[in-house]
Amino acid sequence: MQTEKQPGYKFSEIIADPVIRKRWEKVQKYFFLRESTYDMSNRCNIRCEGCYYFAGESKKQFADENRDPAAWKQLFEAEKERGITFVVLAGAEPALAPELCRVCFDVIPLGAIATNGLKPIPQDIDYRIHISTWGNDTTSLAVRKAPDMLVRQMENYKDDPRAVFVYTFSPVNIDEAREVTELLAKGGQQITFNMFSAPVGYNGHLRHTPETLAQTRRVMTELLAEFPTTVLFSPYNILAHTEEKGLHELFSCSYPRMNPSTDIGLGRSFRQYRTDLAWDREAACCVPDTDCDDCRHYAAGSAVVTARMYRHATDPATFSAWLDYVDTYLAVWVRGYDKGKNLCEHPVIPIG
């Protein structure tokens, strides 16, 4: 009998390694996470250039803002009933609707909030808090028109274990990542990396080129090596997010927007609710206005790469690289999950 082409290792052989097995068992406990995302407010306290929310094609900012806690409570209870175990609260700026975030936390206790960090989110809302960072304070002033942004963000979330800074690499701020990482390391805070991913129809200077991708890869690699406890990332994260091919081409995005199947996984359960509590399957993904061909977004990778376990179970090194990715994802998104040491320090080609 001729069998199909097989990987060199059986899965049982790969997880027989005690280090791999331990990490596998650690991440496997979180396979129950099923996410959806919610826009909590259509207002923001700043106005950044090229903001997806206000400039995006989906025109989410024109949705009515439902501010009734009872309506949100009913929604989250229905979401819980539907099997949602992890929420991502986004914007425009969710910190402007803390009472609604609290309603959510009371119903679904695992989640993350994406904020610009200028208005502190009350301590009792114990979600992971992602603070968006677009460069040093000179760049932030120019692009986000907000002075002393990093200084204020760091002050607001000083000694706050909920906080992780999300640095978005664009072609114009690659070298500033070092300065920001050093400041955060000094302040005992954590950082993870995101990639600017062009909105649909955008062809401006912020779109990455092969050269800026390579340059970003170099800087990320240096920072991860120099600040291993400050930087929540792995060599495989770096490769997967700085490939010339976008995440969809590499891993086949499973968000409903790109995936017609409603049978299982994200295609079945993921929804992206607007402030009027409506959602649209056609626009449902974590970054609805992004051009899928240019998508390297950290939130997209967290779902798309982690879902592709099967294809990474070919040999111990590749599977370890995937485990590092999942370990990073959990450390970035789940409160109380501690990142382990990366298992695979050498480059593994992303399995597209």
Binding site: Q28, S252, S261
Partner: protein, 197 residues
């Protein structure tokens, strides 16, 4: 069909399970239901499958059990329920086939192979998902794994890897949405094995 049965204190089921702490094993309960249905039908039938079986209460020697079995719309399928003093003991669905000439033919060999694969897949799912109250033999092969068992894509990927080890076949990630029941997975594996022969 209604029946009242008193469990026999001397039954070998009790001595085997467990000498120090005798209880009637699940398979003993199911046998009891099958015997009652066969007796009521007055024809020779054999149990062909089980579904949604739930064991809720331990049965001790000498306990009086009430068995209620109702014929479903589907031919030879019964929904049953066992109670003891008003308390639920066990419930589920039982399917039968008429007993045929025992001469073995090819399609029987084939369905035997499939049913072995079904039992093995059920065992893997039970093991991976740490399911309780169900055994590989009682797992309903037609249960919707997503809707009724609550499996999601990462669970399915894990199961697919264990199946890859066991059968030496590759399960395409794009095929996951189609693999909705244990029977469909078994047929999928069977087809893959045949096409690689």
């Amino acid at each position: 069909m209604n029946a009242r049965v008193t469990t026999d204190r001397d039954s070998p089921w009790f001595s085997g399970h467990f000498p120090e702490d005798p209880i009637l094993p699940g398979i003993g309960l199911l046998n009891m239901v099958a015997d009652c249905i066969a007796a009521a039908k007055e024809e020779t039938i054999v149990m062909a499958g089980l579904g949604r079986v739930k064991f809720r209460k331990i049965v001790r020697p000498g306990e009086q059990l009430d068995i209620l079995a109702t014929s479903d719309n589907k031919r030879d399928q019964y929904t049953f329920r066992i109670t003891s003093g008003g308390q639920d003991v066990c419930s589920g669905i039982m399917r039968f086939t008429p007993q045929e000439n025992p001469q073995v033919n090819n399609s029987e060999v084939m369905s035997n192979e499939i049913s072995q694969t079904i039992t093995r897949i059920a065992a893997i799912i039970i093991d991976e998902l740490k399911l309780e109250d169900v055994t590989p033999e009682t797992f309903d092969a037609d249960l919707d794994l997503v809707d009724e068992v609550g499996i999601d894509s990462m669970d399915l990927a894990t199961i697919a890897l264990v199946l890859r080890d066991e059968y030496g076949i590759r399960i395409d990630e794009d095929d996951y949405p189609k693999l909705t029941t244990v029977r469909i997975i078994a047929e999928y594996i069977d087809n893959k094995l045949k096409s690689s022969e």
